[in-house]
């Protein structure tokens, strides 16, 4: 029942103002139920890592993070995609009720189609800094970090590379969300550098309720870590439909 008292104590202020005197200032993601699980929103400057097996909704949550920023706080965003073609993103967004092409025409959104190597070297040379200033970008989603793992680098460890991405994006004052594929239930057995380094970690699952073959699968979202602030301590059911991820706040598992 700890969860209930947590919910009662949650801050009600979702005004989205930044840089207040409050030492624990939060940046609301704009996804209301998620902000509640995070005790009001992302602690300012926290990087957000969204993990899950394929098909669990990572890309959708990433798109929703940018959509909410645009619609609710007028914060332009950038979606960096390595594998998913932009056209497919537009199509998938449309099915969720979001017109990403219109956002792009209005200069509120920038979908960048690139590869990990090109992204890293452009980050290093401030090309993205120019885009950030040009568009007034406030949010970025990188989908997905898994592509960084697929090529070895003689120069640096995955850990250093990951830090480099986060720091370069933070340098430009962006709120950073990254996605990463994990095998189902991998988390309890293996902790990865990404999980150490990210400030806030969210795990998505799509699992059967029990071991029987005809048992229904349910989607859950769980906050694993939230540096600098409290967070909900249980897995929450959600579904996906128009509007994106819809968290069922009351139904903890």
């Amino acid at each position: 029942m700890a969860e209930q008292s947590f919910d009662k104590e949650r801050p009600q202020d979702n005004s989205g103002t930044r840089g207040g005197a409050d030492a624990f200032h939060r940046m609301p993601t704009g996804i209301e139920a998620l902000d509640q699980l995070l005790d009001g929103g992302l602690p300012d400057g926290n990087s957000l890592l969204v993990q899950g097996a394929p098909g669990t909704g990572k890309t959708i949550l990433g798109m929703q993070f940018l959509q909410a920023g645009i619609e609710q706080f007028d914060e332009p965003g950038m979606f960096v995609t390595f594998e998913e073609h932009p056209r497919r993103l537009y199509r998938d967004a449309r099915a969720l009720g979001w017109d990403f092409e219109a956002y792009e025409r209005a200069r509120q959104l920038l979908v960048v189609f690139t590869s990990p190597e090109a992204f890293l070297s452009e980050l290093g040379s401030d090309n993205y800094g120019k885009l950030v200033r040009e568009y007034g970008l406030r949010r970025v989603c990188v989908d997905s970090l898994t592509q960084f793992e697929s090529y070895p680098s003689a120069m640096e460890q995955g850990r250093v590379r990951f830090e480099r991405v986060i720091n370069a994006l933070r340098r430009d004052n962006l709120s950073v969300m990254m996605t990463r594929e994990t095998e189902s239930r991998e988390a309890p057995f293996r902790v990865t550098p990404e999980e150490y380094l990210a400030d806030t970690v969210i795990q998505l699952e799509y699992e059967r309720m029990d071991e029987t073959r005809d048992a229904q699968r349910v989607r859950t979202l769980e906050v694993m870590k939230n540096r600098g602030a409290a967070h909900s301590s249980s897995a929450h059911l959600f579904d996906i439909g128009v509007g994106g991820i819809n968290l069922h706040r009351s139904s903890n598992l």
Partner: protein, 187 residues
């Protein structure tokens, strides 16, 4: 002219049942980029042992990679090449390509180069790709994966499109990143 790969010496294959190459060695031997090898592995086109950067490739995988490359060299798309090697199994298929064990870089010597008409059609595909995906900014290796073509060929096509004023190249930390020309505000 399309270079041909050397023919197979069965004795070399039989001598290598325990072949176990790391990613860089496999990529070099098969004449593909490390990135492309990683992608093909993740897509399940080729099998590897181990995980992440410690993956290794055995004889069957190397043979399969060389067969895919050979098929693509003869003009097949990646998809068609995969179909053509689908039933390549150790017992049934005659060995296809030689494995130049003495000099891995020999594989590179038969690097791909497209005939003039193929090169022109690749330039067209690349141009079409940029038109369809206007926000692309990528280096030749990344584009090669997205187009399912070889990096050297894509590099040449991208340079041709730069010369024609269609693409812009941005030298950047030891690599060249390409984007569409005339795209305002895109750095």
């Amino acid at each position: 002219m399309t270079p041909t790969l050397p023919t197979f010496d069965p004795l070399l294959w039989e001598a290598l049942p325990d072949l176990n190459l790391n990613i860089a060695q496999t990529a070099e031997l098969c004449g593909i980029s490390v990135r492309q090898l990683g992608y093909w592995t993740r897509q399940g086109y080729v099998m590897a042992q181990g995980k992440g950067t410690r993956r290794t490739y055995g004889l069957e995988s190397v043979r399969r990679l060389l067969a895919i490359r050979k098929a693509m060299n003869s003009g097949l798309s990646l998809r068609q090449a995969l179909r053509s090697v689908a039933d390549l199994s150790p017992s049934s298929a005659p060995p296809i390509i030689s494995l130049p064990i003495t000099s891995p870089t020999a594989a590179k010597a038969c690097a791909f180069s497209l005939s003039p008409s193929d090169a022109a059609s690749l330039s067209k595909s690349l141009h079409a790709f940029f038109l369809a995906n206007g926000r692309t900014r990528d280096h030749a290796g990344g584009l090669a994966i997205k187009l399912g073509r070889f990096e050297e060929d894509v590099q040449a096509a991208a340079e041709a499109l730069c010369a024609a004023g269609i693409l812009v190249s941005m030298p950047c930390a030891g690599m060249t990143v390409y984007r569409q020309a005339g795209e305002k505000n895109l750095g």
